[in-house]
Symmetry: C2
Subunit: 514 residues, 2 copies
């Protein structure tokens, strides 16, 4: 314990002595003597105030780009996460967890130039560690390390990026990722189509039903670049230019290709003919007849894959929201097959047609990542999806704020109140009885709380029922049972109370109030 | 993307070309040409192998003192945490979350000499950060920062300590804490007694019903030291010697007091008379008549508090497991009032009477911590408890291993299987129908899986029901519905299937198999 803490404890103890002497109406001399001691201690504390010992010498805040979550925010978060987990479980996913940090070498070489955003731990002797940047690389490390060749797992956990966060746009340095992946050597597009189904079900269950799931294929993009005459070493950079088409018009993307990336204008124009296309099966069929494209083996392979997944989407009932979109490129380098991205369109769940949160889920196939961790480069093919839960939280929080929705942060069913003084033990006895019956119950931690304060607490926390005890009720063996919203009260015998509460809670849930 | 990754992709693509050419029985020359390209690429990869580009140059492991959690471990963990959360919620707790790291200054001066165990982040420009060491200090920072004067919250999250972990004893560098705290200026012992009740309910609900909750009071310990003549500046170090009485005999603790901490033998003996006592109300009454002790105001105050909480424990029905134990001292400096600790005794839940996991929950009152963060030292009194979930997980995992208990890692209710080839789309259609009905369903991701492999999957994952489709069933509009454990099969019409599944799942749950 620091000197300062010891001093503060001494001051507190001394303050109590002073208060007690005063309350006990001790002699003025005696009180003055103790007050002097108190002042001496306080003076000593002020002397001791140094940055090390102190507390208020720095601004109280959370680290840049991070935040605390209040009970209201946590209630929204757990409701969303529980719904998402229910969909993952509906499809048979298990869950795993990995440490928040990894050996730095595990992350090295996986994120390209974004590696600069990785948080490193200080070298305090021992291993060199970094905070995880996503859940995909730790997942691949887990598979390779444990020689797991097939698993269907979800992982919901925080990841860390030393970005310059645009907090207004809901981007933070610490944020949740919510990933579902299927690892294993399976047949074409069967797991891939289920990932699309899962995104579809999640957005539906969250009430965000105005969305499109864009699909594309890495091989088709590569083949398209090849067919248009993009030099092989420019594939990645042209790909990342195409990826901007969701935010920028073609003219701007073309300018980047020609002026910054040195593509000839005619090549760029050819690309432009394709990447602005989107549609369904009929577009696949059209492109399969395109003479230029079909010269590329890779493009044909991509188109055949697209045809198959669109057919499976039909069977799984997701076609109404699926769009084959040649502009979808996605930034991450490790994708090797199908890629997809869900975007909210039109009026989103916040009811604000203007609000655009953009991509709300995305993923794809990455067949080569696990092999990077295996000493024999043994591959485990993977396909997965990441749900953009932070954006979903932001949309819902905005919606609740706009509609003044009250969010319950506790599950309390019954509040036990007393109407007179000196009944704290009676309250405790009744709480115990109700806890033992399985109810969620609380009461005031004050000995003699005011009835009004107790009832206000019930309203503030949207507690459906209050049980009120007074002297006369105790003598008669009854309680007053109050419905908090209607403020209606009935007298109920103590023995009948549990059944009466159960009955009313059932009605309360059926009527769905609060 | 690193050169290596590009190379690997190229090798993979080239390998596919070779395979296809072979399959298509292309000319030997053509194949040889492509094989040569492949070998060239592979040679290039070997040249490029450097520690930066490589993967297999370091041992694949998690950082020291950390581990991954498998689906089985996660299933045990979430079942335990859900039970604990249900108790917290039964008592009206809200939940909050705070970032995994804090400004280093927030943690400074809170953990005494254990500060050396704090993980610091590397200075990458900007703020100096450390990983959180517990959840209590971030909670106090949260209260002070947001000027919250009363809240009842739980927080379940990971904390970090650069300890030399004794993994055999279940201690790690990354581990879960599971805290419940009541902050607010309330009346004596009312929230404190509820914390004891919560520990009691949690250990009962987890089936760990052989436990004792030891109670003591910081003021009584201080008063006892004072009454026995311990110099004030030795209170803390003598306290930490007393704290060892749960593991060491009195003689050893006494030796530490006398030889290491310089206490006179007679003072140590006087302490020994007290700290080996434990009991209930009668011990409080006895000590309240003890002439030496009652000379200390602080001791009397502690005893009065103890009397009150024991009385409240009676009312709350926790007395059978509660013991007033003067040897309980607890290490943390910030406690200012009641302290408690739950220990498993006799045969624990693992069924092994010899196994001793020691303390499984602990806490106490800390009225001065929040004030350390407030610029005006405004205090928010707090009392809380921390459930030792890692030890609980370890006990349960040992129990399940000893009893060969199979742990389900998924919730799948129905597996859709096919008995012949070329029925993948029929499987997918049926899965979609059952998903739409709300069932948890999966099927093989292979186009033509063997029936035996499909049924083995059901047994491995303890899936209760399998639906088997064959050509003849499809023509008749029926399926075979199989109970996986009994292997009994019945034919059910497609239209009756959902109801039939619901009925059987209900029976399955009632019989509680698997």
């Amino acid at each position: 314990m620091s000197n300062k803490q010891i001093l503060e404890q001494q001051i507190k103890a001394q303050g109590e002595i002073v208060r007690k002497y005063k309350a006990a109406k001790e002699s003025k001399e005696k009180i003055a003597e103790e007050v002097a001691k108190l002042l001496e201690l306080k003076a000593k504390l002020n002397e001791d105030e140094s940055p090390q010992a102190g507390s208020q010498k720095f601004t109280l805040k959370t680290p840049k780009g991070t935040r605390d979550f209040s009970p209201e925010q946590m209630a929204v978060r757990s409701s969303v996460l529980n719904k998402i987990i229910s969909v993952f479980k509906k499809h048979g996913a298990e869950t795993i967890d990995t440490p928040i940090f990894e050996l730095k070498e595990v992350l090295t070489g996986k994120y390209g130039e974004d590696s600069k955003l990785i948080y490193d731990l200080k070298d305090q002797g021992g291993e060199i560690l970094s905070l995880r940047y996503d859940l995909t690389v730790p997942f691949a490390r887990y598979l390779a390390m444990n020689k797991i060749t097939n698993i269907k797992r979800y992982h919901i956990a925080k990841v860390y990026r030393r970005d310059n966060p645009s907090i207004a746009r809901g981007r933070y340095r610490e944020f949740y990722q919510c990933d579902f992946d299927i690892a294993g050597a399976y047949d074409a597009m069967i797991p891939d189509a289920e990932c699309v189904k899962i995104v579809y079900e999640i957005l539906e269950i969250l009430g965000m039903d105005q969305f499109v799931i864009k699909l594309n294929h890495r091989l088709l993009l590569d083949g398209l670049f090849e067919a248009c005459g993009v030099p092989k070493d420019k594939f990645r950079s042209i790909c990342s230019a195409v990826d901007k088409l969701d935010k920028s018009p073609w003219e701007e993307v073309k300018r980047e290709m020609v002026e910054e990336k040195g593509l000839s204008e005619s090549v760029a124009d050819q690309i432009g003919e394709y990447v602005q296309l989107n549609g369904k099966e009929e577009l696949v069929e059209k492109l399969l007849k395109d003479e230029r494209l079909t010269k590329s083996k890779s493009a044909v392979e991509g188109l055949e894959a697209m045809k198959l997944i669109l057919h499976y989407c039909d069977i799984y009932g997701t076609s109404d929201k699926v769009s084959f979109d040649l502009s979808l490129a996605r930034g991450l380098d490790y994708y090797t097959g199908i890629i997809y991205e869900a975007v909210l369109v039109g009026g989103d769940a916040s009811g604000d047609p203007e609000s655009s949160v953009g991509s709300i889920a995305g993923g794809g196939r990455y067949d080569n990542l696990v092999g990077m961790f295996d000493s024999k480069h043994k591959q485990v093919p993977c396909v997965g999806v990441s749900i953009g839960v932070e954006r979903i939280f932001a949309v819902l929080e905005a919606k609740y704020a706009a509609t003044n929705t009250k969010i319950r942060t506790t599950d309390i069913q019954v509040y036990v109140a007393t109407a007179q003084k000196n009944l704290v033990e009676e309250r405790m006895k009744l709480c115990r009885q109700l806890w033992d019956e399985g109810f969620k119950v609380e009461h005031s931690y004050k000995k003699n709380p005011k009835l009004l304060a107790q009832l206000q607490h019930c309203e503030e926390y949207s507690i459906p029922l209050a049980v009120i005890l007074g002297e006369s009720e105790i003598q008669k063996g009854v309680v007053k049972l109050r419905e908090v919203t209607s403020r209606a009260e009935v007298e109920v015998s103590r023995t009948q109370l549990p059944d009466e509460i159960r009955k009313r809670l059932q009605n309360y849930c059926l009527n769905g109030s609060a």
